[in-house]
């Protein structure tokens, strides 16, 4: 009898904790919530960039080959200095500390490869893109900007990814990121990232 009693409290606490954890999972699917990089910064940036044709904020990403037609969320950096990820699995996330798609430089968008319960997500088939495939971004002025895939590369999470976030060729690029590799339970992320590099047409 005594043995039973001594076991009960930890089990009880564990159960409550699991329930709370599940609730968090349901309501806050994106752990890496942006802590900075809000829209507040944009007017200041706009005033200093010598923008010729004004390029709007991205609102839709379309990849006809993959039948992707996704809403664009804005993300900044998470607490651990990672680029944020979309909150909704069918959305993509644009890194709003970088340039806008169509501006000179490398704009970056991320999308989930899969979702809870084994569901697929927006970039489940991103690995099927090949050089020459077309990608379209619609901005909030209703303008569609088209991009062409240049190369596809896989990075380990330890690799230098400078070239994903910047370019020095004075051209406009859009780079798409999703997860590949194996799931690491401890770090709660995949071991690799697939990056599709595109150039503005």
């Amino acid at each position: 009898m005594r043995l039973k009693i001594s076991l009960k409290p930890p089990v009880f606490i564990g159960s409550i904790a699991t329930v709370i954890f599940s609730v968090i999972i349901i309501f806050l699917p994106n752990f890496n919530r942006p802590v900075q990089g809000s829209d507040m910064k944009l007017p200041a940036l706009l005033s200093t960039i010598p923008v010729k044709p004004v390029i709007g904020l991205p609102v839709r990403l379309q990849i006809p080959k993959l039948k992707v037609n996704a809403s664009v969320e804005n993300v900044g950096l998470t607490k651990d200095k990672s680029m944020g990820a979309p909150k909704i699995p069918s959305d993509v996330a644009w890194f709003n500390l970088g340039v806008r798609p169509g501006e000179i430089g490398s704009a970056v968008m991320a999308g989930h490869v899969n979702w809870y319960s084994g569901a697929t997500a927006v970039f489940a088939n991103l690995n099927k893109l090949k050089p020459g495939d077309k990608i379209f971004v619609k901005d909030n002025n209703g303008v569609t900007i088209s991009f062409v895939v240049r190369k596809v590369r896989v990075y380990s999470i330890k690799d230098d990814t400078s070239e994903v976030f910047s370019a020095d060729d004075d051209l406009a690029h859009l780079n798409l990121i999703t997860c590949v590799g194996v799931w690491n339970k401890r770090s709660k992320q995949y071991s690799q990232r697939l990056v599709v590099f595109t150039d503005r047409e």
Partner: protein, 596 residues
């Protein structure tokens, strides 16, 4: 299949090695003889028309076989006009064709670049039609030649800029079909096109326009065709080298912004295979074709060139020239938290600036400042041809570090027997990053010429940027530490444009006077760690002088986003486990209550 791939790999690697360590093939361009065409500014086959505002021509105008009636519009010809067959214009056409064939037959040095393009002296080729918009800068010595070959049509809009001692009479354009010069262009050199030449509007040509078989048309506002200007090298070579030689100074910048530990000595440097030290002034034969800077690379570092070197570390050397090649190594990877790079400044002033009565003593004063925000250690001064360089004052707290706002003064005295350019390279370290600045000073011996001095500093704000990068404002300050006002002061930044003049010409005379500080500004949006090199140029007493400033900005790069979920994060599993555990917990609670 396997053997094939091994063989091709081996061949590739052999070719690669040869490319790296083999002799550099030099396609030196040569100036063809123009014969009778030399005296013509405008020469065409059938007709020439000045539509619009009229045209001024400094030399001769000729048509052959075209007659005088085919020269239409308003022309101001300062030379003589020749028409038809059997005269000077026909001889000129024959000689121009020979020159055209000579140009077309010269061995290429490579393809055309895009604006802003600074081709070294050589033969630059496009096989088909080409449209170039922007600026081509030709920087070289009195004897350097540029040949531009275009297989078919050429459309050029923009400017050809001569720098250093480059000569308009040593620039040639050979166009296989039609040539069009866009409105407002400043064109330089002798243009020989097989067919039509069209000037859109208001173009200026420092050179000649020759259509071998067809027509020359000038549209719109007045066009001027003059020159080409041609100066011969001065009798006395002003520079820090013996006659027939130039100096080469290779300057190393090392950036460890991602925990790298290499230092300057970890990257041995070579000029055409000869070992050189960073910052040392070396003499090499000149004029020569291409020189190439190479180094023993360290894995884990990227490499880039700036200053007088092109992207491949190559440069041309003219007689008496002073080449500075800056080579930057950055450890691969970017910091999550950016470190603050140091910023150093050195200025060097000789006293006296000239020894008109012949050999004598000169004392150099070197002023080294920390113009950044972090203290520097391991401050070195190398490359100077004067010894010993002694620290006189400045390290007020005697900590051996060049603290922010400290000014260290060094001096050195030497005897000069001939005109000499003395260079010093100051290097300091902070946070794993080296800061470098170069100062040169010219002393003229045996001539009553006071050589000019120029000095430039570049200060970025901010020096470090968080992930995602952002806008950086570079403030460039140009001063004149010499005695004579400088004309034609201009700045070129390899990573930022436009560099805008802000203020400083207080008396509005367009000359940088010794008391003035001219401020320039440039903004750039950085997304990765960037090293900018700015070159300031100025002229006085027939001499062009330069100074360099090099500034690093460190930019952090974000980690990749977390865009997936593992099977262990299956939401149903989480919920069902949660319910199961909660249920069992409840069960135990109930059991416990019951048992109590």
């Amino acid at each position: 299949m396997k053997i094939h791939s091994i063989v091709s790999r081996a061949l590739l690697s052999v070719a690669f090695m040869l490319g790296l360590i083999g002799p550099i093939s030099v396609s030196a361009a040569t100036a063809p003889s123009l014969g009778a065409a030399d005296s013509f500014s405008v020469l065409a086959g059938l007709s020439t028309a000045a539509n619009g505002g009229g045209t001024t021509v400094s030399g001769n105008l000729g048509l052959s076989p075209g007659l005088a009636v085919s020269r239409t519009g308003t022309w101001t010809v300062l030379g003589t006009e020749y028409f038809g067959t059997g005269g000077l214009s026909q001889t000129a056409q024959t000689d121009a064709l020979s020159a055209f064939n000579n140009l077309a037959g010269q061995t290429t040095s490579g393809g055309w670049g895009s604006s802003p393009w600074s081709p070294i002296p050589g033969v630059w080729t496009v096989a088909l039609d080409t449209t170039f918009t922007g600026t081509i800068t030709l920087d070289g010595g009195f004897d350097d030649v540029w040949v531009f070959q275009v297989g078919q049509d050429m459309t050029f809009t923009g400017s050809v800029v001569l720098a250093g001692n480059a000569q308009a009479c040593h620039v040639f354009w050979q166009v296989g079909r039609d040539a069009t010069i866009g409105s407002g262009s400043n064109f330089v050199g002798t243009l020989i096109a097989s067919r039509d030449i069209t000037f859109a509007s208001g173009a200026n040509v420092n050179g000649r326009a020759i259509s071998l078989t067809s027509s020359l048309v000038l549209n719109g506002t007045p066009t001027t065709i003059s020159g080409p200007t041609c100066n011969s090298a001065p009798a006395t070579v002003v520079g820090g080298s013996s006659p027939g030689r130039g100096t080469v100074n290779v300057v190393k910048v090392v950036i460890n912004d991602n925990n790298g530990t290499k230092t300057i000595s970890d990257f041995p440097l070579f000029v055409n295979g000869t070992l050189v030290g960073s910052g040392q002034t070396n003499n090499f034969p000149a004029p020569a074709g291409l020189y190439s800077v190479t180094e023993v690379t360290s894995s884990g570092y990227t490499r880039s060139f700036s200053g007088d070197c092109d992207a491949n570390g190559q440069f041309g050397l003219y007689k008496g020239g002073n080449i500075f090649c800056i080579i930057t190594n950055n450890d691969i990877g970017s910091p999550l938290v950016p470190v603050v790079p140091p910023l150093i400044d050195v200025v060097k002033v000789p006293n006296p600036l000239a020894l008109p009565n012949g050999p004598g003593n000169v004392t150099y004063t070197y002023t080294v400042r920390n113009i950044g925000t972090v203290p520097m250690t391991d401050v070195t001064m190398v490359g100077d041809t004067c010894a010993p360089v002694s620290l006189i004052s400045g390290d007020t707290n005697n900590d051996g570090r060049l603290d922010v706002n400290e000014t260290w003064i060094y001096t050195c005295t030497t005897q000069l027997s001939e005109t000499h350019t003395n260079t010093v390279v100051a290097t300091g370290w902070a946070n794993g990053i080296s800061a470098v600045d170069i100062a040169s000073a010219n002393v003229v011996v045996g001539q009553s010429i006071v050589p000019p001095l120029i000095h430039v500093t570049k200060v970025p704000n901010p020096l470090a940027l968080d992930a995602g990068g952002g806008m950086v404002t570079y403030t460039d300050e140009v001063t004149n530490p010499g005695l004579v006002p400088l004309t034609n002061v201009r700045l070129t930044d390899n990573k930022c444009s436009p560099v805008k003049y802000i203020s400083g010409d207080t008396d509005g005379n367009l000359m940088l006077d010794p008391s003035e500080t001219w401020t320039f500004s440039c903004q750039s949006r950085l997304t990765r760690t960037t090293v900018n090199t700015v070159i300031a140029r100025g002229e006085a007493n027939g001499l062009t002088i330069r100074d360099f400033a090099i500034a690093t900005v460190v930019v952090a790069v974000p980690k990749v986003p977390n865009t997936g979920v593992g099977s262990s994060a299956n939401i149903l599993w989480e919920i069902s486990t949660g319910i199961l555990l909660a249920g069992s917990g409840l069960f135990f609670v109930i059991r416990r209550k019951k048992s109590l």
